[in-house]
């Protein structure tokens, strides 16, 4: 994207380029968070589990078939970790926004 294009968009919304950039990043991260969260919930719902640890308990008690539940649990755990990373980025962005407003 050309820099002048970003300048034009920022001007048309009465924003600084920095604010436009921050809001764009925040939207991107929120969208990613939604997708990752939906994927994680979809995996857990296959086994009627509320969380990764709940799924692990169900596997341990033999309530669900170990395969592919164990592989799905591994994927869900990694998605949980990714959600934490996204939340940390969002918190940083919101902190930066508060700093610039203050």
């Amino acid at each position: 994207m050309k820099v002048s294009y970003a300048t034009e968009i920022a001007a048309s919304f009465g924003l600084s380029e920095e604010d436009l950039y921050r809001q764009a990043l925040e939207s991107f991260l929120r969208d990613k968070k939604r997708q990752v969260l939906q994927m994680k919930l979809e995996i857990l719902a296959r086994y009627g589990a509320k969380s990764v640890s709940d799924l692990e308990a169900r596997i341990a008690r033999g309530l669900v078939a170990e395969h592919p539940a164990w592989e799905d649990l591994i994927v869900a755990e990694n998605l949980s970790k990714h959600l934490e990373e996204i939340d940390a980025y969002l918190a940083d962005l919101q902190g930066a926004e508060a700093d610039s407003a203050g």
């Binding site: 990752v36 692990e56 341990a60 170990e66 395969h67 164990w70 592989e71 591994i74 990694n78 998605l79």
Partner: protein
């Protein structure tokens, strides 16, 4: 995404250090773009799926059902024993565990090719495996134990009782 870096590193290890048996390696992604697993294309036409988590959970699934005399081979640290939670392997890094597993596949594949799958070879693998890694659970259907004692032994998770079934 830290786990993506881990998968990338594993992929590179497979391609660089196991080029004699690994034809290709692909990180299979979820619709979100997050990595789901590492899939290795093995020279004999079989596939190995590797699942790794940040905390040390893992699952190796070697798919050989579509090959003559094939089967499914699994190694993981799922909580097979209902009295305890899933074991982690903090003493063994993901890279070391994967290398060990791939060495076992390499040894098995090469031995099969040479027509020598003697019990003495497998027994020596079993001894070495037990010396070098902790014991984890083995899962799967009977072909797992029937066809890959060497793999299981090198990965270090097969005990004397299971070995007898092989």
């Amino acid at each position: 995404m830290r786990i993506l870096q881990t998968y990338r590193a594993l992929k590179q290890i497979a391609l660089d250090e196991f080029e004699d048996i690994v034809v290709g390696a692909e990180i299979v992604a979820l619709p979100t773009g997050d990595p789901m697993k590492l899939r290795l294309d093995i020279a004999d036409g079989s596939l190995l799926d590797v699942y790794i988590s940040i905390s040390g959970r893992y699952s190796y699934h070697w798919e050989r059902r579509f090959l003559a005399g094939g089967g499914i081979y699994r190694h993981d640290n799922a909580p097979h024993d209902r009295r305890r939670s899933a074991p982690r392997s903090p003493g063994i890094s993901t890279m070391a565990a994967s290398r060990m597993w791939w060495r076992a596949i390499s040894a098995t594949t090469l031995k099969r090719r040479s027509g020598s799958s003697s019990r003495s070879f497998v027994r020596s693998c079993c001894r070495r495996g037990r010396e070098s890694s902790p014991c984890h659970g083995l899962s799967g259907t009977s072909p797992v134990l029937q066809l890959t004692p060497a793999v299981a032994a090198l990965a270090g998770h097969i005990g004397p009782r299971e070995w007898g079934r092989g």
